[in-house]
């Protein structure tokens, strides 16, 4: 009887231990396999994100090259043509009948205006020029162009010690600002635009405000697919490329505030005022 009890006890103990180790192995295998799989999938996601980032950068580089090319064409060919028109008008002027002189002078003045607009446009598209003068000056030029239209009251304020950041970051930041200002001109029906630049070592903050009609941000993002409008998406992508935070605050009838924050910017040099 005792032998039978011992044999039964041993059977239960051994079989329980065996099943326990088998079950534990199954669970261990499941968790380790799943962990590996999860890590592998995370790597794929990271690779895909990196690929998309590279793709976006190349797209922006191509875009930049195209803008550069257009800028040079505007500067070399178009400006040259406008200069020729001006010279021709100058030659025609003495021989022209007196009743047409006023028209010719008016045309000359328009040609001059066209020339200066072409130069400004060419400068704003030219990457090398933007890198040369720096983001702040380039932005001020853009704002001056807006002010010259006399449709907008433009106010620019700067706080902190001005500095330059990486040239490629400056270009992206400038293109982002161009997109913002383009939106103001196209949609905002604003009468005042304010740009505030805050320079500090911890962060660079740029706030562009208009007093226009404003818009519903959620609706605009929803409808961007239907309207094939990629402006807001592009702005977000550009901001992410330079690790900037883009915050757009707007409501119908309440103007728009665009805040671009670059935390811990890579400062290249400070610019004395």
């Amino acid at each position: 009887m005792e032998t039978s009890t011992l044999a039964t006890s041993l059977t239960i103990i051994i079989s329980t231990l065996l099943v326990l180790s088998l079950s534990a192995s199954v669970v261990y295998f499941l968790f380790t396999y799943q962990k590996k799989k999860f890590r592998h999938q995370q790597e794929i996601i990271e690779m895909r994100e990196a690929f998309n980032q590279v793709l976006l950068q190349s797209r922006l580089a191509i875009q930049e090259q195209t803008l550069d090319h257009i800028s040079k064409e505007l500067h070399a060919n178009f400006s040259h043509l406008v200069s020729l028109i001006n010279i021709n008008l100058q030659e025609i002027l003495p021989q022209a009948p007196s009743d047409q002189r006023e028209n010719i002078l008016e045309t000359k003045s328009l040609a001059k205006q066209l020339m200066s607009e072409l130069k400004a446009l060419s400068a704003s598209l030219n990457t090398d020029h933007i890198i040369h003068i720096g983001f702040v000056k380039a932005l001020e030029n853009e704002l001056n162009r807006l002010a010259k239209t006399r449709k907008y009251e433009v106010i620019t304020t700067k706080h902190g010690e001005e500095y330059r950041i990486l040239p490629e970051h400056e270009i992206i930041l400038f293109r982002l600002c161009q997109e913002v200002l383009n939106n103001v001109v196209k949609y905002a029906h604003a009468s005042a635009v304010t740009a505030s630049l805050n320079f500090s070592k911890e962060q660079f903050v740029l706030i562009i405000t208009d007093n226009g009609t404003g818009f519903n941000l959620a609706n605009a993002l929803d409808q961007s697919g239907e309207k094939q409008s990629t402006g807001l998406l592009n702005m977000n992508k550009r901001a992410s490329l330079i690790n900037a935070e883009l915050l757009i605050t707007s409501n119908d009838g309440a103007g728009t505030v665009v805040m671009i924050t670059i935390p811990h910017p890579q400062i290249l040099q400070t610019i004395p005022r």
Binding site: T5, S9, T16, V19, S23, V26, V27, L30, F38, Q41
Partner: protein, 224 residues
């Protein structure tokens, strides 16, 4: 009367699980999770009744102290609920069909065992073995499905994983002891008492897994 408290330690995680599982109804979790919560509530009530039965409750009904009739009934009810849960969470059509037809057959065997073969007052060994083996198989099928899942699931944050882990370990490891429990109850009650901590420990582990499961929320597989 000496009450061995360690035998009832599992009531702590079980009661907490029964409280936390109420969020499945409040937050409207999918159907399998609600059924799982229902199973935990039924488990708690079964354990409360089965614990109180030999002490005082049986006197109210003038019945014997034997509480096997409660556990035997619970085996069948729990298997029914687990079959529906696994039917809902397993996705392969052939497995769903097999679960549906096999579960009906096993439930019939369970009822027969309860009423005719062993009767309610003896441990229903046949029902127990069949239901345990089926639950182990269903758990393994769920693990297999997890391994073949194409999307991303953080498995340690998925309530169903913890539930399946608990019931798999409990049903697999207690099986050798529970197979012998019916024989021990008739021939050698001392041996049944000697090995009972296996059941106690795994029951505590099972209830802890229930509790952990309700710390998380159901996850939806993310496309990768």
């Amino acid at each position: 009367m000496h009450i061995p408290l360690h035998e009832y330690l599992y009531f702590i995680p079980l009661t907490l699980s029964a409280i936390f599982c109420l969020k499945t109804f409040r937050q409207k979790w999918p159907k399998p999770y609600s059924l799982y919560a229902l199973m935990i509530i039924i488990t708690l009530f079964t354990e409360l009744i089965a614990t109180a039965w030999p002490y005082e409750l049986h006197k109210q009904f003038g019945a014997s102290q034997n509480n096997f009739w409660i556990y035997n009934l619970f085996i069948i009810i729990r298997f029914g609920l687990l079959s529906i849960i696994f039917y809902e969470i397993l996705t392969r059509p052939i497995i769903k069909k097999t679960i549906a037809s096999a579960a009906i057959g096993i439930l019939i065997i369970g009822v027969l065992d309860y009423t005719l073969i062993h009767g309610p007052l003896q441990y229903n060994t046949y029902s127990m073995i069949i239901t345990h083996v089926c639950i182990i198989l269903l758990s393994l099928l769920y693990f297999q499905q997890l391994l073949q899942e194409k999307g991303i699931i953080v498995i340690h944050k998925e309530p169903m994983v913890w539930m399946t882990l608990g019931i798999f370990m409990y049903h697999a490891v207690t099986l050798p002891f529970l197979i012998m429990l019916g024989i021990f109850n008739i021939n050698n009650i001392q041996l049944a008492i000697f090995f009972f901590p296996i059941n106690e420990f795994l029951n505590f582990f099972l209830c802890s897994c229930y509790l952990i499961s309700f710390l998380w929320k159901p996850q939806h597989s993310q496309p990768h």
